[in-house]
Every structure is written in structure tokens, then in C-alpha cells.
Symmetry: C2
Subunit: 401 residues, 2 copies
């Protein structure tokens, strides 16, 4: 995976014009017995659905309640749908799309049940954005991958109808200020959402990366609140109730709140703060000297990423990384930074700056702002990777600076 | 799928405040026996890789040499990787990525073999663009879907290294004007490509929609020539030879050329002309009266789509459709157009205009420009769907206007 470019085999003289068969001999390579020369035997014909190469085995790391996207194995900004992280409160419900209904009621003029066909008939919109779990930070040991540390974020192209379109259809009362979003999983997952988000950019989505949304992601339809903590984008959504106050459901009282300073608890902290992580090089990569392209992801729930800065000298100096166009609103963006590693021991870090001017904090700054007992939500500290002289790359769990 | 919005069930009075269970009774719906109430039973736990819903069965339509993307079943601009169209000349080769090598030689200073690890170590780039087969037009009967008519176009986010980076690495001679791209399938597929495309935006890609490129798409690496006819983006690429003339391979002499006027044949017609197709409503959809969102795809190999125009009156008048942002270079873009169908017999059509000012031609204009015997390549006529009074939607094979 990380062979040095200097190992490239240069071909000289007569070999230059030789056939590929000869080249293979010259470079001393032999074809693996399991894979005969593919030019000598026609391969399988086209099929109805494609499959991964048998040499590729990307997997999420599942627990009983979640599974994490393998960020270090991915390319670009789209997460393959079958590798999108999962977080459920009672497993994946099996829903017959022909039986699916979404009820919108409460402080509305025309309480209405929408079938899936109804939702699809409204003007549609597609947008590429991330969904991140608010509990997306793990730490504690050096031997952690990006997937281990923050694999509860993924990105898809979502297609559906703007919730504002449905709000106009049912006639939401001017005095409605909150709505309840309720899922049809066995947890009957519920969250209270300010109506303003419904009028802004909330969607009911039924399409993901070109196809029907996946079962783990809310099939046949979920709420999508771009840039907000993942649990508020209620999956398998079956009911929206308009009200003039929040509903104070279990998930927003006992959970999904976080301690801040002076013994206070913060509730309804919806927006995902700007964050970045270097996904290459990262543990367990073994680095070789020479030019390395440091690669990673950056994102913000408050808008576009304006800049990502990388430090290759333990945070002493920071320089801007290249951002992959198009840089989209509330979306993962790939960043890349060329670095010539000469074998020194160092730490490499990245920090995201979003269009609001917010700068991704260090763990020390987070603790200073929120106290030592910060809980497990909305933690977005700068991630440091320690590079040892022998090329080992290790996560630095206590990166306070 | 296309139930009228007016069928939505309105709930009045006491039912408004009732539970969802009651609502279901009120509307007379019963849960399908195979899917018990999902709120009453915890579902399966998270897993290493997700699966489609058992209710979803999108498929390509395979023949011995190709398979076609189900355009009418897709959402947004990304084609799921396992539904990307296929076109092979000798099936799908099985390639061990650890044995993979790309040789660049000929008119270069430093003929070089690159391993996959070498390619991944170079500065990377991601871009979303379409690949379309130059033979992507079928006609002949009314009962054809968009997949049947032009399913040999698909779009992915591709990740890899710019070919210009490799050109600099090997020192391409200033007098080199063409290169041979050779695949390692059993057809040893070869095409001659002008070097200028290599210096412009050609890539060697190893990533597709976030993961390793799929076997049918060239695993572990393919050439990508954005905007050019698909067969030139040689899959399973193993050799690039720089030269000062084209190589006149089988595929560019006996095939992939097209008759133009006066008995002449056009060769090296690389660029994909601007095109669009309405994917909804399309055969076999049964239309119902009322507001319909006409939806489709538009693309051009020459740059961005500037405008898509839709006619709902058999081509008499044309109005601009909405384009889904971001509109990307050499990429499929979704267009949408709201139409109130009152039950009249009519034809609906779309035409793409790209940033060069090129307007997608009618079949009549194509014939006028290229003669009746146009062959089977680079055909991009305006597609018309006939709407009958009974709501049937039929392809109009002979749409000359």
C-alpha cells in the first residue's frame, strides 16, 4: 500500500520497446497462481448487478448499537451506501414501502397522511451532505484508526422533498415553533426540532447515492437535517407533530445533552461544529521517507469549510491544505497536503475553519470552554498523529495543546 | 408509484389528535402480514456491510457485451457502483492488485512501471463525471424505457492521479503527439489518444464512489478521459505507449468510427455531444392528471450544461428546466420541470444546451448533418415521449422534428 515511489522499476535499453510479457520477466514478477494471465482467457460476462473485487473487503466495525465507516479506506467525498455508519436505538425495522405512511398533524390546517408515492410526486431536490453522530469521538489508546476515533460520520447524495414544501401543503400554523419527529423503529425514536429548521433546509429523503435509501439509513424515508447531529435526522420517519413547545422526549432529556461549565447541562445543541481528521497517514500505516500526500476529511454543520490547515511540526506552524472542489455546504470535503518526511520524529495535525470563522479547537481549548467533565457529545478536538523515527504512525490520545 | 396527490387522506376532527395506530384504522389500511408492526419488535443489529431493502431490486439489463443502467429508477446524479453500465470486449478480467503494473514507455525519458501503491502515492484528485458509451442509442419500438434507449451512461465520483503527473514523472518527449492505452482484458483493448488530453484532464483512477473501483469498471485501475466516448477510458489499463502518430488499432479502425456525409467516415470522434433525456415520466409509467414533475438527466462532454429546455406541447414551445446544483463540468446534471397535465394528448421533450452553445439536435437535424446511414455511434437525438389521453407514456422512435 505504501511502497516508496523510489522503488518504481525503471526500464532501460532494449527492455523499453519490449512487450509487457517480457517486462514482467525483466522485473522478476510472476503472476499469482490464483489469477492466470487475464489476457489469455475471456472473463465473466456483464450481469444485472456488479460485485466488489474479491481482493477488497471494506467493512464497518459494528457494535450492538452502531457501526463505523472505514474512513481510512475510502476515497473522495461519497461514502458507499453499504458502508455508511449506522446508529440505531432498537435495530433496523423492516418496512413495506407500500404500507409506508408519514402523518403530519398538530398545529396545522390540514392534517395529512402522505404515502411514499405522494412524497415522490412533490418537487424533488438532491444534495450532498454529511450526517454525523453527535457522539462521534473515541480516544484512549495509541492504536486507533480514523474509523475507531470518528467513524460515525458519512456522506451521501440524498434525494427527497423539502420539508417546507410539506409544511405549506398542510398549512403549518404561524405560532408553531417546534415539531416532533418520530421514527417507526422499535425505539419509536423521537426528537423535538425547531420549526425554523423545517422552513430552512430540512428534507424528507427517499433516495441515497442514486438508489432507494438503505434500510439502515431509514428506508423508505427519513428526515434529513443538514449539518445537525445525526440522531435528529430521524430514520423511518412516520410522524411529524407541530407544536408551540418542545416535546422533551427521552432522547433529548436523558441523552443527547452535554455538560458545560459550572454544573450546567446544554440541551438542543443541534449543530455539528467544524472538524477535520487526517485519514492518511494514520495508524496502522507504516510510513516510508520521502514525499507523502497527507489526506483527510473536513466538515462543518454551519456551512462550507473555508480552510483546512495542516501542521507537520507538532503544531508549531500551520499551512493551508488543498481543498477538493466542489466545496459544498455542510458537506465532507477532502483535503490534501504534500509533505516531505525526512525521518524525523514529529506530530501531524489538521484543523478546520468554516465560513463562520469558527476554528476547530484543541482538546485543551474544549476543556477550557466546557470543563473537564464534558460528557460524550459534540467533541471535535484536533486529532494528532505521532510519527516515530521507525515510520510507525500512532494516535495521540491526550493531545491537549 | 404515481398515485395522485389528491388521494392523500385528510384527517379531520378527533382523528387529528389520535395516535398513529388509530389513524391506521381510520384510513382502513392494514399492515402486510410479512412485515409486522416494526415498532413492536427490535430489528437486526448493525452489521459490517449494509444491504438493499428486500423490496428494492434495481437491475441493469445485461447482454453478452454490455449492461445498461436503470436510469428511470435512479435518483440524483450519482450512479450506484453496482449499477454502473458495463461494456466489455472480452468479459471482466480477474486482476490481483498486488500483481498490478502500469507500464509507461515509448517517447519518454524514463520508461517506468508503476505499481498500484505507486499510483496511490502520487497527489490525488477526485472528480464527479459521467462515462458514456459512444454506441448509446437504441430505438425501434414504443415500449422502451430510458434504460433501453440510452442506459449506457453512468456517473461516479472517480479518484486517482492526473495522467499529466505521470507524464512529468516519465518525461514525455515534446514531440510525442499520441499515446496508446492498452487494457489487460482478454481483448487487450487498445485506443490511440492525443497526448493533449493526457496533459489536460486525463486520469488514472483507482477509486469509484468512495471505494476501490469495481471489477467491471477496470479494477484495480483504469484510464479516465472525462467527456470522451467511454471505450477510450480504457479499463484494467496496463500499458501507455507514447508516440508521434496514432496506432490505428482494431477498435479505432473497424469500429468506433461513424459515417458522415458524402460516403466519408469520421475517425477519432472522441467528444460526447450534449444530450438529455426525460427519465420521468417515461414508458411504462401510467400518468395521472395534475401536477407532474418532469425529471431527467442532461450531460455534455464539452463542459458544463448551460441550460435544459423542456417542451410539453410536442416541440412548439420550450421553457427552461431547473438544474440541480452543483452543475459540474462533463457531468450528468438532474433537471426538473413542473407541468400540470390536464389529460390532453401531447408529446414531451427535452433538449440540452452546453456552455459551448451547442444545442442537442433532433433526429432530423442529425440526419441532415450526417446523412441517413449514420451508423451506431454518437447519436444524441432529442427524445420524445408521447402521452396518450389514457395516461400511457410511449417512446416515439421516429421523432424527426
Amino acid at each position: 500500500m505504501n511502497k516508496k515511489i523510489s522503488r518504481r522499476k525503471l526500464l532501460w535499453g532494449a527492455a523499453t520497446a519490449a512487450s509487457v510479457a517480457l517486462i514482467r520477466t525483466v522485473t522478476g514478477q510472476s503472476i499469482h497462481a490464483a489469477v492466470p494471465d487475464p489476457t489469455k482467457m475471456p472473463g465473466p460476462l456483464p450481469g444485472p448487478v456488479g460485485k466488489r473485487s474479491p481482493f477488497e473487503h471494506p467493512v464497518r466495525k459494528p457494535s450492538d448499537i452502531s457501526s463505523r465507516s472505514p474512513l481510512q479506506d475510502l476515497y473522495g467525498m461519497i461514502t458507499p451506501s453499504d458502508l455508511h455508519f449506522e446508529r440505531h436505538h432498537a435495530g433496523i425495522p423492516a418496512i413495506d414501502p407500500h404500507q409506508y405512511e408519514l402523518l403530519i398533524h398538530g398545529m396545522v390546517d390540514r392534517p395529512t397522511v402522505f404515502t411514499l408515492a405522494d412524497l415522490r410526486r412533490f418537487p424533488a431536490l438532491s444534495r450532498i451532505c454529511f450526517i454525523e453522530c453527535s457522539g462521534n469521538f473515541r480516544t484512549g489508546k495509541e492504536t486507533m484508526t480514523p474509523q475507531d476515533i470518528c467513524g460515525l460520520t458519512s456522506q451521501s447524495e440524498w434525494t427527497g422533498v423539502l420539508l417546507s414544501t410539506l409544511f405549506r401543503e398542510v398549512g403549518v400554523h404561524p405560532k408553531a415553533t417546534w415539531f416532533l419527529a418520530e421514527g417507526s423503529d422499535a425505539a419509536v425514536m423521537t426528537r423535538s426540532i425547531p420549526v425554523s429548521k423545517g422552513w430552512d433546509d430540512a428534507m424528507i429523503v427517499y433516495g441515497q447515492n442514486g438508489e432507494a435509501i438503505r434500510p439502515e439509513q431509514g428506508y423508505p424515508a427519513r428526515l434529513l437535517l443538514p449539518g445537525w447531529e445525526g440522531n435528529t435526522s430521524v430514520k423511518w420517519i412516520r410522524r411529524i407533530e407541530l407544536s408551540d413547545q418542545p416535546f422533551m422526549t427521552r432522547e433529548e432529556t436523558s441523552k443527547y445533552t452535554e455538560p458545560i461549565k459550572d454544573g450546567k447541562i446544554r440541551q438542543f445543541s443541534f449543530e455539528i461544529d467544524a472538524r477535520s481528521i487526517i485519514t492518511f497517514p494514520a495508524w496502522p500505516v507504516q510510513l516510508e521517507k520521502g514525499w507523502i500526500e497527507i489526506r483527510g476529511l473536513a466538515w462543518s454543520g454551519r456551512g462550507k469549510i473555508k480552510r483546512v490547515e495542516v501542521s507537520v511540526d507538532t503544531g508549531k506552524t500551520w499551512l493551508p491544505a488543498r481543498l477538493q472542489e466542489p466545496v459544498l455546504d455542510k458537506a465532507h470535503v477532502c483535503f490534501r497536503y504534500l509533505w516531505n518526511w525526512r525521518g524525523e520524529e514529529t506530530e501531524i495535525l489538521s484543523r478546520a475553519i468554516d465560513e463562520t470563522g469558527y476554528i476547530q479547537p484543541t482538546l485543551g481549548q474544549l476543556v477550557k470552554a466546557r470543563g473537564v467533565d464534558m460528557g460524550g457529545y459534540h467533541l471535535n478536538p484536533v486529532t494528532a498523529w505521532r510519527i516515530r523515527r521507525d515510520g510507525a504512525v500512532l494516535f495521540k490520545p491526550e493531545n491537549w495543546k
